[in-house]
Symmetry: C2
Subunit: 229 residues, 2 copies
């Protein structure tokens, strides 16, 4: 592939994220278990998140607000202020959580950075994503960082235009078909899908990428240097 610039997603592509949310959701279900079963808790929280995403965007702060709102709804207001405080504390713990790189990332990024311009392209809270990048020790390998509110075709077009990068020379790498693959293929660029073990419901997609020469499915980020050689 004749690629000059590589865009990399952050959460669950470079470092673990969904597993942290999964552990938090486990505690959340336990908090509400005297009121509702796990399935109802998960379903209602997801509905709240979906409804709020337009206002809150992605990230821990919006998740925390949605979790508080859902808990009030599911307990018909019987949840105590102390229990709500534990949700706020949990959110703050998530924002201070250590960054754990995915297998292969620490070895692969320095190699890629020698031959390609690397850009971090991620959604989420501004402060939190910058913190994670700093803590990851990977910041030096990126020539650009784009923290965006939505990963749609217009976002990618805008980034490529501002960087003066031709779509044919751009490869996006990430764990979400919805955010890292489909919109990238739509603007004529290349995409490498590296699935993570869990995918958040709002990132799931039934659509199958239909661009055999521009779409690649990798088992690990370790396969990336061979792909872009």
């Amino acid at each position: 592939m004749n690629c000059r610039v590589i865009g990399l997603d952050a959460d669950d592509t470079l470092w673990h994220n969904e597993t942290i949310f999964a552990r938090v959701q486990e505690r959340y279900r336990a908090l509400l278990s005297q009121y509702h079963d796990a399935e109802a808790v998960d379903r209602t929280l997801l509905a709240t998140e979906r409804r709020n995403i337009e206002h809150y965007g992605y990230g821990v702060k919006g998740f925390t607000l949605s979790a508080i709102e859902t808990a009030i709804e599911l307990t018909k207001g019987r949840i105590s202020a102390q229990e709500i405080q534990t949700l706020i504390d949990t959110g703050r713990e998530m924002l201070a959580h250590p960054v754990e790189l995915l297998d292969g990332v620490a070895e692969t990024l320095p190699t890629l950075a020698q031959s390609h311009r690397l850009m971090l392209i991620t959604k989420g809270d501004l402060v939190d994503q910058q913190r994670k990048l700093t803590k990851s020790g990977l910041a030096e390998y990126f020539t650009g960082v784009e923290i965006v509110s939505e990963k749609d075709p217009a976002t990618y077009e805008d980034i490529l235009r501002r960087q003066g990068t031709d779509p044919a020379e751009f490869l996006m790498v990430g764990n979400s078909l919805k955010s890292d693959v489909l919109p990238v293929l739509e603007v004529g660029a290349n995409a490498a899908y590296v699935p993570y073990k869990v995918t958040w419901a709002l990132e799931q997609s039934d659509e199958i990428p239909d661009a055999p020469d521009r779409f690649f499915r990798l088992a690990s980020i370790r396969e990336l240097p061979a792909l872009v050689k």
Copy 2:
């Protein structure tokens, strides 16, 4: 002044923001008035915001979380879940609030955009600031938008370097000495201070800018075209 690029702050420089927070804080004091007087409420909320800013950054979502936490603290947990829900609802109202331009902005920006490159440089929630820019009707006048987590000298240096702009050719315009003036002067660029009628406590500064040839104090954004002519 030989300026080619103008950076503009958003909240309380282009559109009203602090007045919205002030109205919300009024309701917040009323909610807690049976527990504490207004001064104690304001002081405790500010202390919570200051403590949380490292984790939450700037913006409505962090404010809402800090307001909930402060209410739990000030009522020793006696605040009801329904009252906490009103705080969440208020936060969401703020995120859907109409954008009201400051006097002179609608007339001045098109004029400036004819002779200069304009950049929006603002802190706050990513999604919220993008929404306000869209609703403001001003988006077409900006060639770049930077939503940043902190406005310090490093942030301005980074923006200028990425844009290939010499500090001497850059003028930042805003209502905060702390965020829009002092760090800009520190990196060798120019700054125009246009005070708003209210300044948030965390934006207040006692430092007096000491760069007479690069610092300008304007009564209104209407004075800007003459300054940069």
